[in-house]
């Protein structure tokens, strides 16, 4: 067991990689009533083509399998794990992203028992044809709910522009047609390939004793048999570094009230490996903050001219195998919005000059925000990076901001903001609506 001290914040983290490969992180929080545990596998909706364990050839599975599997893993032969958590007074949930699937509980009752339930239900798959068929109805409604969700359509609209012919352009839950094709065998293939302990990590935080908790986890894992860990072979994702595959503009008419516009920037540059990837990510976030935050000249101008309103937002996503930024707003003037945002991006380097003071202000803002997030057990555990940034935690992020240099932001400005990487997406109200 390794103990990492974060003296500035009065926190201590206990880490251990178990013999079966499972990474365990425990962070006790004094004064808290609740315990939060989250078990994550490095597997998401993008991983739809791979060599299944014990097989030799690449196989393609229907879109939406990772999310479907997440739903079905709760169901056991003689019980439902969700009920069992409820019986022991815990709230349970799960979510699937492009590159991860996570299972979690949160409880003030029997934290140890609930931790065992979490490990046991995720590590004991049971899928059968009848219940797989039934789930199609529920997930079908989930997909339809998102079809009526303008924000969701908008979010995927820009992604489809930046990543056509790429699994990123498909809804995480798949489509009503694709989930129709999912079989029990698909679920087992994905499970056996991606749910090996060596591809997973567990984060527990809250009202717990770290040593006792670790002992319990070790004993729980020692009881179980796992296949020896094999290298996961995922198909290479389509990746056009020239940006030629990007669809520069698309528009959709919907029965909505207000136009929405997005400018997306696909990351064509290479992301540094390991912890440096997190440093890169935070540098780009700083870059976007300097260009677009409500303390920037650009934001103020667009806001005062009525081009943007409080719905204006900018985000940067970086996960395994992809990264992109998007700048979005509800706007009465989508053409002006896109034109002005692209103009800012093209002149970014020039605009950044003389912004050294703003940079120092932004550092304060970012440090404060990280410390704010440390109040929340979910904030602490969900920000754990796993493999992606070699186990970086929320506590490491403050130090990264503190060390950041202005020149580094100028460097990512040049490597990330490229005119061939830009795309525009708009949703416009249908005539007469």
């Amino acid at each position: 067991m390794e103990i990492v001290q974060y003296e500035q914040f009065g926190e201590k983290m206990y880490k251990e990689k178990l013999i079966n490969g499972l990474e365990v992180n425990i962070l006790p929080k004094e004064g808290y009533h609740k315990t939060y545990g989250i078990l994550t596998t490095d597997y998401g909706s993008l991983d739809n083509k791979f060599v299944p364990l014990h097989k030799t050839k690449m196989e393609q599975v229907p879109d939406g399998v990772a999310h479907f599997l997440e739903h079905k893993l709760f169901e056991k032969k003689d019980h439902d794990a969700f009920d069992l958590f409820g019986h022991y007074g815990a709230d349970a949930n799960a979510f699937t992203s492009f590159t991860n699937t996570s299972y979690l509980f949160s409880t003030v009752n029997y934290p140890q028992k609930n931790l065992e339930i979490l490990l046991d239900f995720v590590q004991d798959p049971y899928f059968n044809a009848k219940s797989v068929e039934k789930e199609k109805g529920i997930i079908g409604q989930e997909i339809k709910m998102y079809e009526d969700d303008v924000e969701w359509r908008f979010y995927f609209g820009i992604l489809k522009n930046l990543y056509p012919n790429h699994p990123l352009s498909v809804d995480i839950a798949g489509t009503v047609d694709s989930i129709e094709q999912i079989t029990v065998q698909n679920l087992y293939d994905c499970y056996q390939t991606f749910y090996h302990p060596s591809n997973m990590n567990l984060f527990v935080t809250g009202a717990i004793d770290p040593e006792e908790t670790l002992k319990l986890i070790r004993a729980n894992q020692a009881k179980k048999q796992f296949a020896s860990d094999a290298e996961i072979k995922r198909a290479e994702l389509p990746n056009d570094e020239t940006g030629k595959d990007i669809i520069p503009y698309r528009m959709l008419e919907l029965d909505t009230q207000r136009p929405k516009a997005a400018v997306g920037i696909k990351g064509l540059d290479e992301v540094p490996e390991g912890r440096n990837g997190l440093i890169y990510k935070m540098q780009v976030e700083m870059l976007l903050w300097l260009l677009f935050s409500d303390t920037s000249v650009n934001y103020t101008r667009l806001y005062n001219e009525g081009i943007i309103d409080d719905s204006f937002d900018f985000t940067f996503q970086l996960e395994r195998s992809f990264h992109y930024a998007s700048i979005t707003s509800d706007t009465d003037n989508p053409e002006r919005f896109c034109h002005d945002i692209i103009d800012i991006l093209e002149n970014a380097e020039q605009l950044l000059k003389g912004q050294y003071q703003q940079f120092n202000l932004a550092k304060k803002e970012m440090i404060g925000r990280q410390i704010h997030a440390m109040n929340s057990l979910e904030g602490i555990a969900n920000q754990y990076s796993g493999h992606l940034f070699t186990g970086a935690t929320i506590f490491d992020k403050v130090a990264i901001v503190q060390k950041m240099k202005f020149e580094e932001v100028l460097l990512v400005c040049r490597s990330f903001l490229r005119s061939e990487a830009v795309s525009v997406y708009q949703i416009l109200p249908k005539e007469g609506s």
């Binding site: 004064g31 709230d91 969700d149 207000r258 409500d294 934001y299 410390i371 109040n375």
Partner: protein
């Protein structure tokens, strides 16, 4: 502890080392008035955007960044018949920051400037800033139609409540908004400052005496405490009202409203929490198990209990053609509870789930602050120990009895088929 600063203005400080931040709220409490609904929310937005010291949004944002990413927001909440405007500031405790200075004192100064020294010219709110916020609120009000789940819930309330102050959305209406002028809003604001009950609440690793000294510098005169009733009680309607609407949607929304006259921490309240949990308020509820898990008819089917307005609403997202089937299942679940068809396990697990969510809320600074305000409004604090004891004391029969108080009043269905 709660201390009077001047009549009608109080300070409550809750020292705690649990969190790394300090949270300060100044709440203005007034009786709900249907004509002032939109004014109050617009006022909140105007006050949040600028002040005489920080006349632009940029200046406000820079000041907040300077205070290490402090958060500042003004929100409006309708709680039963009370209308609360809440100005909340939260910042990192300076002991986690090198050379940040005294952030509590800086926070009070900032709040004082934002709330008591607004951006004014010629007896009115600064026209430019006012018009921008007015336009933005108008855009928001219109955009609600795009969020179908919210839109359906609001349509249900519109059909259910007979009192205009309750049937109107808490963010107001476009019609009211159109009429508001900067002068009129400023006059309304002066009335609020002079008459509303004011509660200042501070939570964090702070010194009580220091907070008292800081709060005492707020420029406030004596006023009366909130006099109005807190709980809204509506006459039972003889007939069930059915509202139907068509829009270009893929999924239908079937929402139901029930009169349920059991109020916050009053008689039957703890049984009501359990009843709502079993019905549709919790993930293991009858609605979830039957509409979703057994019949596969929905992704979500939930109920929620408004203990200040005495009503329960049910929300579902379904296929259009399944409306009758879903409604039958919902009706049956309620009838089952009324007939005592609840298992011991359901009963006990629901208690545990409610206890879990109650105690979990103590781990969130914003929930703690909300609870402090509710305690002040209801003039009663219930300790965690007492709360659990009361929940555990609820008997099986109490739940059945309280369930029998529900009466279906309104059905709302949003579908996509144009007839």
């Amino acid at each position: 502890m709660r201390t009077e600063i001047t009549p009608g203005v109080n300070l409550t400080v809750t020292p705690t080392k649990q969190f790394k931040t300090t949270r300060i709220a100044i709440a203005l409490i007034a009786p709900l008035d249907s004509r002032a609904l939109t004014k109050r929310i617009l006022l909140a937005n105007v006050l949040e955007a600028a002040s005489a010291h920080f006349p632009t949004q940029k200046a406000v944002a820079e000041k907040l960044s300077e205070m290490y990413g402090a958060g500042f927001g003004v929100t409006v909440e309708r709680r039963g018949d009370a209308h609360i405007m809440n100005c909340v500031f939260d910042s990192v405790n300076e002991r986690y920051l090198p050379d940040a200075g005294n952030l509590v004192s800086a926070a009070f100064t900032f709040l004082k400037q934002s709330l008591f020294e607004p951006l004014i010219s010629d007896g009115a709110f600064d026209r430019e800033s006012f018009e921008r916020q007015k336009k933005n609120l108008g855009s928001y009000i219109r955009s609600v139609r795009d969020d179908k789940q919210l839109y359906a819930a609001l349509s249900l309330q519109k059909n259910y409540f007979t009192d205009e102050a309750q049937s109107t959305p808490s963010f107001g209406t476009y019609e009211q908004l159109r009429e508001i002028t900067p002068t009129e809003l400023y006059e309304y604001y002066l009335k609020c400052l002079a008459n509303d009950q004011i509660e200042v609440v501070v939570a964090g690793n702070v010194d009580e005496q220091e907070c008292l000294a800081l709060a005492s510098t707020l420029p406030v005169k004596p006023r009366r405490l909130y006099q109005g009733p807190l709980f809204y009680n509506q006459e039972r309607q003889q007939a069930v009202y059915e509202g139907n609407e068509h829009q270009a949607v893929v999924q239908g929304k079937l929402d139901l409203a029930y009169k349920f006259p059991v109020y916050y921490r009053k008689e039957g309240y703890y049984a009501a929490l359990i009843f709502n949990g079993i019905f549709g308020g919790l993930p293991l509820s009858k609605l979830f198990m039957n509409v979703r898990e057994r019949a596969s008819l929905a992704y979500y089917a939930t109920s929620s209990y408004d203990s200040f307005r005495g009503f329960i609403s049910v929300q579902t997202g379904i296929q259009f053609q399944n409306k009758e089937a879903v409604q039958t299942i919902i009706t049956k679940q309620l009838a089952d509870i009324k007939n005592g068809e609840i298992s011991q396990r359901e009963f006990q697990d629901t208690k545990k789930a409610l206890q879990n969510s109650f105690l979990s809320r103590l781990d969130s600074p914003s929930n703690n602050l909300d609870q402090t305000l509710v305690d002040i409004l209801t003039r009663k604090h219930v300790s965690a120990y007492e709360w659990q004891a009361k929940l555990n004391a609820v008997r099986f029969e109490d739940v059945i009895e309280v369930a029998r108080k529900t009466e279906l009043q309104t059905i709302y269905f949003l579908d996509g088929e144009v007839n």
